[in-house]
Structures are given as C-alpha cells and as structure tokens.
C-alpha cells in the first residue's frame, strides 16, 4: 500500500506516460530552480511535439535548451527567451512556435489553472500586442483583458526538501514558478535535493502541500549559474 507516499526511484518511472504532443508546465527562472534531471529524462525519452510553458527556455546546452537539440519542442509559452542561439534559429525559421506572455500573467495563468479558475482579467498587456484579439472589460474605469488559465498533461518542477507525502519546501529564489507550475499539471512530478520521513517537516513551514504532487524523486543537481556576479571584500 503506497498510501500518500509519492516517492519514485527512477527518472524513467517519474515521467512514465509522457507522450508526444503533450503539454508540460515547467518551474524555474532562468536556470535557477529548474527540474534539470527531469528535462534530461525528457531528452532521453525523445518525446516530440511538446508544448512547454516555462518563464524561460534555458540556454544552449542547459535546461530546456537541450530539448531543442532534437527538436522536441513544438511550442514554447514564455516571457523571455534570450540567451539561446538554437532557440532563436528555430524561432526565426518557423519550426518553433512562441507565445510570448508577460511574466506575471504567466505565473497567474499557472496559478489559475491549478486553482480551478478558467480565466481572469488583468490590466497587463492591454493596448499592446499581447492584448490583441482578447476580450476587454472595464472595471472601475480601467480596461482589463481576459487571459485564460494554463493546464498541463504534466508539470515538472524542482523543490529543495520534501517529505515522502510530497509536502514541499523551496529554497530562496529557486521557488519562483515552481509552486504554481506543480498545481497546473494533471500529473505533477517534482524532483528535490532531499526527501525526509513524514513528520520531520514542520507543517507550518511547508510551502506547498503534497496534495498537488503525484510523483517525487530525489536527485543531484548541477545548479548552473547564468550570471556569476561578485563584489570584492
């Protein structure tokens, strides 16, 4: 009896059921807090035609960037896609469809998707290319556009610590899109640095309850730094 135990022991098992042309919601900001091993497993599986919603698309050879090498991504929903030559090439040639979405709207689309809210109004993007073709409503004298929620067949995310029930804690700015991404996928797969026994996390300090998590795996992480900046003592 597995009960609430969400732990799986292999990455193959973690992504079992992922098929061509599915939609994946992914956590991470730049290369910070990305589910790097789950992304590598998607590459290994060779799943194609994917639609991926993630704030960024990785860089060449890192993060979601590695899925471009074998043209596994059909469509990318992101707020910022710089720093990636292969991405630019595939976008320019039309092989890769890109839906640029404001960062806060993207976070809210994921949150709404996970919270059973099909759409919401926001002032962000009104009067810009983002608002084109979208319903406009006026509330208290201001224009808002209707944005629809995002739902995924899978979500892939990274947290810092979890108990076996999938209760999660994140660390510093590696939290970013991860909590919302997890809630918006039908099958939410989370990789963490450490899994502890149930009861070892203070319920008051859990950032995301295990109810949202379907599969949990412990991994080791490269944690590549995109822009190393230091000051001298």
């Amino acid at each position: 009896m597995a009960g609430f135990d969400k732990v799986v022991t292999s990455y193959a098992e973690a992504l079992e059921g992922l098929e061509d042309n599915m939609t994946i919601i992914a956590g991470g900001f730049g290369l910070c807090g990305i589910p790097e091993n789950l992304i590598k497993e998607i590459k290994r599986r060779g799943t194609k035609g994917l639609t991926i919603a993630s704030n960024n698309a990785g860089v060449d050879g890192k993060g979601l960037g590695i899925l471009l090498e074998d043209r596994q991504i059909k469509k990318m929903i992101a707020s910022y896609v710089g720093e990636n030559a292969l991405f630019e090439a595939q976008m320019m040639s039309g092989e890769l469809e890109v839906e640029l979405t404001p960062q806060g709207t993207l976070a809210e689309k994921m949150r709404a998707g996970g919270a059973g809210i099909p759409a919401f109004f926001t002032a962000t993007g009104y009067g810009t290319p983002v608002g084109e073709g979208k319903e406009v409503r006026v509330f208290n004298g201001r224009e808002y556009i209707l944005e629809e929620a995002l739902f995924g067949d899978f979500s892939i995310a990274k947290a810092w610590k979890a108990d076996r029930y999938g209760n999660l804690m994140f660390r510093k700015t590696a939290r970013n899109f991860n909590p919302m991404a997890i809630t918006a996928g039908k099958i939410a797969v989370v990789e963490v640095e450490e899994i502890v026994e149930v009861g070892q996390l203070d319920p008051d300090e859990i950032h995301l309850p295990g109810i949202y998590v379907n599969r949990l795996i412990q991994g080791t992480f490269e944690k590549t730094i995109e822009q190393l900046t230091v000051r001298s003592a």
Binding site: G30, S79, Q103, A123, G125, K172, R175, Q227, S232
Partner: protein
Amino acid sequence: MALSREQLAQRVAQEFHDGFYVNLGIGIPTLAANYIPEDMQVMLQSENGLLGMGPFPLEEEVDADLINAGKQTVTMVTGASLFSSAESFAMIRGGHVDLTVLGAFEVDCQGNIASYMIPGKLIKGMGGAMDLVAGADNIIVTMTHASKSGASKLLAECTLPLTGKGCIKRVLTDLALMDIVEGKFVLRERARGVSVEEIAKLTAGELVIPDNVPEMRF
C-alpha cells in the same frame, strides 16, 4: 553635458523616499541602488521572488539559488522575504510596490511606453515589464533622449509595439526630467549646461516649457 549613466542613476535615487519598496529594472535603474542615501531605508523588490535584495555576494557567499531578475547572483538584506512568482506579481499588479524604474526605447506624451520589441529584429520577450508598467502607479522611465543620429525618442505617438498604454507619468533622460500631464511633456529639470532649446529640438511630442527650468543638482 548629457548625464552619464552614473548621474542618471543618482538622479533616479533622488526619487526614493524612506520606507519605499522599489523595483529596479535591468541596466541604469539597477545602478540607482548604489545611491540610496545612508539615512534612508529602501527595500528592493526583485520580481523573481525576493523583497530585500542586497548587493552582489562575496565570492564565498555565492549561492546558485539566490539570483535577481537579471539572473545575476545577489544577496539578501536583513529583513528580506522570499516568495513565488505569483506572489511577486500579486504585489506588483496589486499596486503595493511604491516605485518602479525601467528603461524604454520610446515614450509618448499620452504616457505610452515601448520597451520590448523592435519589429524585424530579434524578439526576446517582455519579461515582467508589462506587468510592472500596468501595476505601478509611480513609474520612472530612464532612457536616452534621442538616438545617436538625433531622432527623438519622446514622441507624439510611439511607433514601436507598446509595453503599456497610458501608464507613464515621469521620464528621466540624459538631457532632462519631464512629467507627462494631460497629453503633453512638461519640462521639469535639465542636465547641467543643456539648454531648453536643445531639449525642445530633440523632443518630438508636444512640450510645455515652464518659466523656470532649473538644472539638476546632485
């Protein structure tokens, strides 16, 4: 003399008030953090989920899990807090951030801003800029007044795709500080040694010139 990057940052910092929560965009706005007066408390918001951003880390403090919105490694000040991107943009969209400072390609006298996309050139995305301009009440745009070839970037109507509509009220350029009031630019201050005529010549949108336009003071 046109303002240097450092002088622009210094002038931006004069807009800070004690107890302000401030979001600084990439580039010149970020530099303004170096000029927060010592007797003032200002908390910097980084939209990837940090309130209370500190300086860059010492080499031994570097933490891959702690970055700013420009993906640079940073530190936290005492009293900082961490949260998700949804929470971060709730505070931005909800109008809880006191001041937002960001760059632009063009601003027009209707308060429109274009800052993320030049058609025909590579489009990298708007990141959080659209949410920031839509959510904040108090925004300062920092930019150069004109292109290298002398074409004004302060227009009657933006030519590039917009980042936000009717949301800009204050613009700081390398030549002048201007407010946008009822569809007109109003000249408030000028850079040292820059004449009102020079600014007028490089401002394509309608410009109101008050009797007294003081030089900026640092």
